[in-house]
Amino acid sequence: MAKQVIALSKRERLLRAVSRGPLHVAIIAICLMWMVPSTGLFVSSFRPKDAIATTGWWTAFSTASEFTLANYQQVLTAQGMAQSFMNSLIIALPATLLTVAVAAFAAYAFAWMDLPGGEIIFLVVVGLLVVPIQLTLIPVLRMFASAGLTGTFPAVWLAHTAYGLPFAVFLLRNFFIALPKDLLESAFLEGAGHMRVFFRIVMPLSVPSLAALFIFQFLWLWNDLLVALVYLGGFRNVAPMTVTISNLVSSFGSEWHLLTSAAFISMMLPLVVFFALQRYFVQGILAGAVKG
């Protein structure tokens, strides 16, 4: 009896698998197509200059060909990608921390404090979420110029923090307000003030959303081109990788051994973060589905 059931289900499974063949083919084909561009970049970045210039990267597997780290060595040193990597870190890390901190305080006030007109102000913040930063470039640039801040890290830290705030406040406020009300009230009753409740109750309970926000914001800044381009003015000693790469494209548009390795260097950290912390990253995306 039991055997029969198994046999039947086996046949069924086979039938099912066959009838679902097109489904698998479609998914796998699309996935492969999606991987081709990055794979090409990755493989090429290890190929010698002449090989890249004359043959397709897919031939590297079929013919006996050599791979090299020379491209990386060259972009890191001669083209300053090592310096740019550091600059990207110096820009993104403090700005992200600042954004999360400033936003957390504001979000807490919006969620749990008696803020007259808070609802309306929060709606304005939601509106600011999609304001293109293009609308701010000229006045801010003029401000920075008169304050002598153009081309400095503090300028981009401040600008990035301000630009990141609407999203960060939005995300955290929505998370904070979903915390059980009883929990905070219980702490107030026990004698805690807002500061204590914020640091001892709300922060520890919000680690996942803070992490999601941190990762999301960090990658956003790491990948930013426009803000760095405008406020840092393309000075090589402060340029992050995105700016350096775009300079490489305009000066060495067909030196693919440089471009591929430089681009891959800039992708390494996001890829590691993505694979290690995918859950948080996706959570940030979902929560911020409205961010532009």
């Binding site: 059980p180 009883d182 929990l183 009230e185 219980s186 702490a187 107030f188 009753l189 026990e190 004698g191 805690a192 003030g193 204590r196 001892r200 109750i201 520890p204 309970l205």
Partner: protein, 367 residues
């Protein structure tokens, strides 16, 4: 040590009035229960006392101090929430110690207090666990331990038993009563369950739609409800109500209801003579309607003919759903009764214990 006074307190949420002219004095060391149907404003009253809601009008005093506008943390009260509100990221020990730590109590003073509170509630073996690893009953105990450890002036409980299963609820009821005796603190306890109110309270305040209906001891509310709402709310199963006209003939005073007639015993006749010829609302509790064959000694009223709709045997008693003419009555009778659904039988309605209400105002018509 702590007397509580609500003095003409009103609470509005926008247009909606959640509490209207609420007046209540709670004596020191008293166990007061606020009871009423869900949504009647019990929690709102409690939360205003705790300092979690603003007071729209009126004043609240704790001892002699007016506490309007005093933040929750400065009122020296503790509260057990229906959800327990345990901090999920802290151990049981840290949950209990949280309030003491905020007061910067030295560790060697705090530690024995935390352990004592934990042992009073029987959670001293769980101190290292997080709330997520506790059962519902254990969580409830931790919430109570957290509240008592600070030795507050007033102790507030908002439906603390409603997340427990029935058996545990009965047990915990008694535990909380014991705790009250042991601590000798003022307790204000909110529940929608009149059984909890009756079994635990020194005094009960019955609320409906934001208004206090009656305040008094459980027995007083049971025996002398001031209106139809309290009469129906207190006691389980609920009191029977029927409209009847008061009539007097040569033999005495009778009530003529919808399709049935019942005599008023001579010693209560004076209570109803004032309403001769009027229709009034009468209330009889289910335990005052008896199977004709098992009438307790001393009750002499004439039987009334009824039809049995449904019987509900409970073991120690039987509930009979009866139709007296067009009037539905519920009787709680001796388990030996032979009455079965569909039978036309006779029961004795003991009007000795009747309640009389004005049909317009629904207020008690007994002076």
């Amino acid at each position: 040590m702590a007397r509580v006074l609500f003095d003409h307190v009103t609470k509005r949420f926008g247009e909606f009035t959640a509490l209207r002219d609420f007046n209540l004095e709670i004596a020191d060391k008293e166990f007061l229960v606020l009871v009423g149907p869900s949504g009647c404003g019990k929690s709102t009253a409690l939360r205003m006392l705790a300092g979690l809601e603003d007071i729209t009008e009126g004043s609240i005093f704790i001892e002699e101090r007016r506490v309007n506008g005093v933040p929750a943390k400065d009122r020296d009260i503790a509260m057990v929430f229906q959800s327990y509100a345990l901090y999920p990221h802290m151990t049981v020990y840290d949950n209990i110690a949280f309030g003491l730590r905020l007061r910067r109590m030295p560790k060697d003073e705090m530690d024995p207090k935390v352990k004592e509170a934990a042992s009073i509630l029987g959670v001293d073996t769980l101190l290292d666990r997080k709330p997520g690893q506790l059962s519902g009953g254990q969580r409830q105990r931790v919430a109570v331990a957290r509240a008592i450890v600070r030795e507050p002036k007033v102790f507030l409980l908002d439906e603390p038993l409603s997340n427990l299963d029935a058996k545990l609820r009965v047990h915990t009821r008694a535990e909380i009563s014991k705790l009250h005796q042991r601590l000798g603190t003022t307790f204000v306890y909110v529940t929608h369950d009149q059984v909890e109110a009756m079994t635990m309270a020194d005094r009960i305040a019955v609320m409906n739609e934001g208004i206090i209906q009656q305040v008094g001891s459980p027995q007083k509310l049971y025996d002398e409800p001031v209106n139809v709402f309290v009469a129906g709310f207190i006691g389980s199963p609920s009191m029977n109500f029927f409209e009847a006209e008061v009539v007097e003939n040569g033999e005495g005073v009778r009530l003529e209801g919808e399709g049935f007639v019942v005599d008023v015993p001579d010693d209560r006749a004076d209570d109803v003579r004032g309403f001769l010829g009027r229709r009034m609302v009468f209330g009889v509790r289910p335990e005052n309607i008896h199977d004709k064959d098992y009438v307790p000694a001393g009750i002499t009223a004439a039987p009334t003919a009824v039809k049995v709709d449904v019987t509900e045997p409970m073991g120690n008693e039987v509930f009979l759903h009866l139709m007296a003419g067009d009037t539905k009555l519920l009787a709680r009778v001796d388990p030996r009764t032979a009455m079965r659904a569909g039978d036309r039988v006779e029961v004795v309605i003991d009007m000795e214990r009747m309640h009389i209400f004005d049909p317009e105002t629904k207020e008690s018509a007994l002076s």
